[in-house]
């Protein structure tokens, strides 16, 4: 019991000292790697969690927006992604090494779930209407918005992994290696997925052009 007490107290002291150190040197947190931040986030270190949020929330928001075209849904996606991340930490099942792929995977799964829901519940369709109605401007801008909305529709028709490759590689501008890391696949598989996704997307676009008068 005494030994346990000593271990606990030493661990506690260590945590406290880290916390104090972080409070005093919060600027140095910005230079910490994801791995270092994650190690502190596992103990629910406030500053480390805040730094993780600041580092990835905007990127995740853009990732979600590019797929959904809705600011509201993108914000929901960010909130839900970080909430799931916290609960995973609570169960001691958070990311082991890489933080960014983990957060992107959560966001991707959440968006996929939204697409699986009926259109009345997910709110993805209302976005198109909002674009049309709330974005007054020149004719070219309206056409631009309509084209973007149609492209998102086509993206939604793709399989989840194909859509993820499209968004990560061509919208977020990641390399094949980065996409492979996030999707937990090898680079060759990502390239193949990319090729199939582009073919399918081209078919959807051509089909749409044929249908339009």
């Amino acid at each position: 019991m005494l030994l346990c007490g000593r271990l606990l107290s030493s661990d506690y002291l260590e945590t406290v000292s880290i916390g104090q150190f972080l409070r005093l040197n919060s600027v140095s947190l910005e230079h910490k790697t994801d791995f270092e931040l994650l190690a502190e986030a596992k103990y629910f270190n406030h500053n480390a969690l805040a730094m993780i949020y600041d580092r990835y929330s905007t990127a995740l928001y853009q990732y979600a927006y590019r797929q959904t075209g809705s600011q509201r849904i993108a914000e929901d996606c960010v909130a839900e992604t970080f909430s799931r991340f916290l609960h995973a930490l609570k169960r001691n099942k958070g990311p082991r090494k890489a933080l960014r792929p983990y957060l992107y995977r959560i966001a991707h799964n959440w968006i996929t779930d939204q697409y699986r829901k009926p259109s009345t519940e997910n709110g993805l369709d209302e976005n198109l209407e909002i674009i049309k109605d709330d974005k007054p401007g020149t004719e070219s801008q309206i056409i631009e918005h309509e084209t973007a909305a149609r492209l998102r529709e086509h993206l939604q028709k793709l399989k989840p992994d194909q859509r993820q490759v499209m968004v990560l590689k061509h919208l977020d501008g990641m390399s094949n290696a980065e996409v492979a890391e996030i999707m937990e696949r090898n680079v060759g598989s990502v390239k193949a997925l990319n090729s199939r996704a582009l073919n399918n997307l081209r078919k959807f676009i051509q089909q749409d052009e044929q249908d339009q008068p």
Binding site: L2, Y61, Q62, Y65, R66, Q71, V78, S83, H87, A148
Partner: protein, 285 residues
């Protein structure tokens, strides 16, 4: 059109989706605050769990995976630390950190002591210890702790006294029994069988000339009974004499029809009586 150019066209179209509006600062700040609040709530919920996890992770870590030797070392360290702390606590004064531990150790030792004499001795030692403690810190203001020490002193004193009184009663009883055993006359082995009969005689004071049977009277009666042991059966023999006549008459029917178990016992017990009765009858004749 080749697939490469098609792909390039598609990618170019996709790039139109790259533009994403900036986050609403209010929404972003709200989301951040909500996230940190949730983190705080979860961390408060999981304080106890995370302590256990940390402890278990310490023991499960590869660099700390325990071998038998490590366990032995830890156990020996525990033993040493326990002994050291117990020794240090035995000298603790009421205003010191280890004093409650000292009292706890005393109580444990008392609880483990079975021998009442040693238990009483321990109570006395601890009572003396309380007095010594009060003497050692008499200049300091103890407040309510003074009453507690005094109460503890009285408790040990009363407990010791109680054990002594109980033990004293037990010793006195033992002494009385021993004295009675040494003073009491030793009955002769031959006369042991007659003791029941003597009790019967004692219950019938009318027949005896002296109601009070002293030891000497018993000894005087001994030879009379021992000379003729058959006569001890005479009172029963007289009663059974009448019965035997019936038994002799009905013995054939009983042996033939009665319960075999009962018949055996009856036969065994009645054979001698019948024999004696027949002799008496012969004498009468």
């Amino acid at each position: 059109m080749s697939s490469k150019t098609e792909h390039k066209e598609t990618i170019k179209e996709l790039e139109s989706l790259r533009e994403a509006p900036d986050r609403d600062p209010v929404q972003a700040a709200r989301g951040r605050a909500q996230f940190l609040l949730e983190a705080k709530q979860i961390s408060e919920e999981t304080v106890s769990i995370s302590l256990i996890q940390r402890l278990s992770s310490v023991f499960q870590a590869p660099q700390l995976r325990m071998s038998t030797l490590t366990i032995a070392i830890i156990l020996s360290l525990l033993l040493v630390s326990f002994t050291t702390s117990a020794t240090a606590a035995s000298q603790a004064l009421p205003n010191q950190f280890l004093y409650p531990y000292k009292i706890w150790l005393e109580n444990q030792r008392l609880a483990l002591t079975i021998n009442p004499q040693k238990e009483a001795e321990l109570h006395l030692i601890y009572a003396q210890e309380r007095l010594a403690e009060l003497d050692a810190i008499q200049d300091e203001d103890l407040g309510t702790q003074f009453d507690q020490i005094l109460e503890n002193f009285l408790y040990h004193l009363n407990a010791a006294e109680e054990i002594f009184s109980e033990h004293q009663e037990y010793v006195e009883q033992e002494e009385i029994i021993n004295r009675l055993e040494t003073q009491a006359p030793q009955p002769s082995p031959e006369f042991e069988s007659e003791s029941d009969e003597e009790e019967e005689h004692e219950e019938e004071p009318e027949e005896t000339p002296e109601p009070d049977f002293s030891d000497e009277d018993d000894r005087e009666d001994e030879p009379d009974y021992s000379d003729d042991p058959d006569e001890t059966d005479t009172p029963d023999g007289d009663d059974s004499g009448d019965d035997n006549t019936v038994n002799n008459d009905g013995s054939d029917t009983d042996n033939g029809e009665g319960d075999p178990d009962n018949d055996d016992t009856n036969d065994d017990s009645n054979d001698d009586d019948n024999h004696d009765d027949n002799e008496e009858n012969d004498d009468d004749d």
